[in-house]
């Protein structure tokens, strides 16, 4: 007898089941809509909050790191320099923190009905993408303001690389997030690490401090953080300063693709029995 479908104890690690995810694309979009619409319901300022957060962070950074500590910023106006770093870093950090909670946050939903679980982290990456786009608008406004006021910066052709950067960040956060969320279903230890780990990693990337200004002996070490390549390229495409190297960006891309594939495989394997351990 031949049957169309089969349920077996444990799936293969290397079946990424992209076809099944594609079948649930409507759900993916509805999740995106839900996340986006529901976040600022019953708030007066609504989506304005998307702007307030990076704006205030930039003001604080400019004051502390720019004025008080007087850190170098590759000749770019301090506030613009920090806003660029924060915009990119926030996307990555927000995605990662939300995704790494996927299983524990959604356990009541996952416990009752089946759909490919990978839809949830994918929807997070996309809804945060909308947030990123809004924050980019803010960035461009500030950027244009500085250009009009005669700051010595100019965009260049590498701007075309922008979609690649976003994709790299998305895959990086997806991969890492899915690995962490899979591991925290049974042992919650990692959850604590993620919270301050992300904060520490921000200081270990070039959000506040340009890569070129790091002492030589540490530069390779810092560059191991795959987000460094992304942020440096991001700043280069808008300001024409900083480090643009093929090796750096290729490294970031390779790491993110690798992490994404590993993450999806682990995630798919975990989703089958996570209800028993979460």
């Amino acid at each position: 007898m031949n049957f169309q479908n089969t349920i077996l104890p444990s799936g293969s690690l290397f079946n990424l089941r992209l076809k099944e995810i594609w079948k649930y694309r409507d759900l993916l979009l509805l999740f995106v809509r839900r996340d986006f619409v529901a976040v600022y319901k019953q708030t007066i300022l609504g989506p304005t909050w998307f702007f307030i957060q990076p704006l205030f962070t930039t003001v604080i950074y400019t004051f502390i790191f720019g004025s008080i500590a007087d850190l170098p910023a590759d000749g770019v106006p301090h506030s613009l320099f920090y806003l660029a770093g924060i915009t990119a870093w926030n996307y990555f950090a927000n995605c990662l923190t939300t995704i790494s909670d996927t299983f524990s946050k959604n356990s009541s939903l996952f416990g009752k009905v089946y759909f490919p679980r990978a839809v949830t982290p994918l929807s997070i990456v996309i809804s945060k993408l909308i947030q990123l786009m809004l924050q980019l608008v803010l960035f461009v406004l500030v950027y244009v303001y500085y250009i009009i006021n005669g700051a010595n910066i100019a965009p260049n052709i590498t701007l075309l690389l922008f979609p690649v950067l976003v994709l790299t960040m998305a895959m990086l956060s997806l991969g890492l997030g899915m690995i962490i969320s899979s591991m925290t279903t049974k042992y919650r230890d990692l959850k604590f690490l993620v919270k301050f780990g992300i904060q520490l990693a921000m200081y270990g990337s070039s959000v506040i401090y340009p890569l070129s200004e790091f002492p030589d002996q540490y530069r390779t070490l810092i560059a191991l953080n795959p987000m460094v390549g992304v942020i440096e390229t991001f700043k280069y495409m808008f300001f024409g300063v900083g480090t643009l190297s093929n090796g750096l960006i290729l490294y970031s891309m390779t790491v993110s693709v690798l992490l994404f594939v590993i993450g999806l495989a682990i995630f798919n394997k975990t989703e089958k029995n996570f209800m028993d351990t979460v």
Partner: protein, 419 residues
């Protein structure tokens, strides 16, 4: 006929206790076995899953070697006591959790109604939630849009459809959730205890919809419930699970009978005695028993006269005592209400007394029944549920040896035929 679902040697193992460092060491051991290409060492141990008794091992089998097939169009009721593995089985079927060993083959889609309204977002409107919930259950946007009016109509929440779901009453949330799920069109539908909520009108609607689904549309339904009446009304086949194993797979009435008979053995009592003295205000029921021809009996037969005798005590002795007795069958349906007011008798209330209700020519078919008793006077009420059971045996009601069984009907009535 080719079955639509085939389950082979399906087992599910659970680990008891909390997750801690002990789990980590077991995980490492399991991992080291797998690396060396050996079988999982912990799949060999494990007790059968009896909730009440203490076991030897930390691992239990929630399901053990389940085998059965379901044919297309069948409505299968899955019954069993709490912890028998019913929900685990449905969870594996709906892919919420995976089996430990064994396999399930099936044709088409499996849609589950494990709990309605899952994935509702409180901040979104009813309409938005219909789309979201439908998509979670596996429908496409197009499918939902084509059925939107029908779903809204079925839910009966039209007025609220553009209001956030957090403002809904819990009944309305369930209605909306069931409305979405009921319009799902999988080949196999898995349903777990959804009818327990909602008002009477809605329950009728829900049962009607499920009958529709199976009878008119020919789809296969697996249904778990503790409500034997709705199981009997809906299902054609039944599966009785006991401690994670299939105890019986047969037509629904024999499965229900088997379940009911082995279930009531535990505390089937035909008399009730309460020796505790009444404390403070109120009414106490001291004793309940049956008399037939002046002798205390455990069983009676259809057509016999029987006295239900209730001894009580009361803190006040003023006014009258009203007595209510409800007789329920083993599906927990109320069949008869006895009320002392119906007999126009005013029974004066005493500090200690005895009330007798004589049932003449008892018109129940053979079976097991249970009684609820309520005593009330001017100041207080005493209600006891299932205080005493009643075993009715086959009696020669019509005087010719002919009598219907419990599966055919509930009551016997004296009848005269003319031509």
């Amino acid at each position: 006929m080719k079955p639509i679902i085939r389950i082979e040697n399906l087992s599910k193992q659970y680990r008891l206790g909390t997750i801690g460092t002990g789990t980590l060491s077991n995980d490492l051991k399991r991992w080291s076995y797998r690396i060396r290409g050996k079988e999982d060492p912990f799949l060999k141990v494990g007790d059968t899953n009896n909730r009440a008794s203490k076991g030897q091992s930390n691992y239990v089998w929630a399901l053990k070697d389940i085998n059965f097939e379901v044919n297309p169009g069948e409505v299968v009721g899955i019954i069993g006591r709490n912890g028998a593995g019913k929900s685990t089985l449905l969870k594996i079927l709906s892919k919420v959790t995976g089996p430990s060993t064994g396999r399930i083959d099936y044709d088409g889609r499996i849609g589950s109604l494990l709990e309605v309204g899952t994935g509702f977002h409180p901040e979104l409107t009813g309409r938005d939630n219909i789309f979201l919930n439908g998509a979670i259950l596996g429908m496409t946007k197009k499918e939902i849009r084509s059925k939107l009016d029908e779903i809204i109509d079925f839910s009966g929440c039209e007025r609220y459809i553009d209001t956030p779901v957090k403002r809904y009453s819990s009944g309305m949330t369930v209605r909306l959730g069931f409305a979405v799920a009921a319009h799902l069109e999988p080949e196999i539908l898995v349903v777990d205890e959804v009818l327990a909520v909602g008002d009477a009108e809605f329950q009728r609607k829900a049962i009607g919809k499920m009958q529709d689904v199976s009878r008119n549309e020919g789809r296969t339904v697996l249904f778990v419930s503790h409500n034997m009446a709705s199981i009997q009304a809906l299902c054609t086949k039944g599966i009785l699970l006991r401690n994670g194993e299939v105890a019986l797979h047969s037509d629904i009435s024999s499965v229900i009978n088997e379940y009911v008979s082995c279930n009531t053995d535990i505390d089937f009592r035909t008399s009730y005695v309460n020796t505790e003295k009444l404390q403070g205000e109120g009414i106490g029921i001291k004793q309940v028993y049956y008399l037939a021809d002046g002798v205390q009996v455990d069983n009676i037969m259809s057509g016999q006269d029987v006295d239900i005798v209730i001894h009580y005590e009361s803190s006040s002795s003023s006014g009258y005592m009203n007595t209510l007795v409800g007789i329920y069958n083993n599906l927990d349906e109320k069949l008869i209400i006895l009320n002392s007011d119906y007999d126009n008798k005013k029974v004066p209330c005493k500090r200690e007394g005895k009330i007798t209700c004589r049932l003449k020519n008892i018109q129940l078919v053979e079976g097991q029944y249970s009684l609820n008793i309520q005593l009330s006077n001017a100041t207080s009420v005493k209600h006891i549920k299932g205080v005493i059971n009643l075993m009715v045996e086959k009696g020669d009601f019509y005087g010719n040896g002919l009598i219907p069984t419990i599966n055919e009907c509930k009551f016997l009535v004296n009848q005269e035929w003319y031509s």
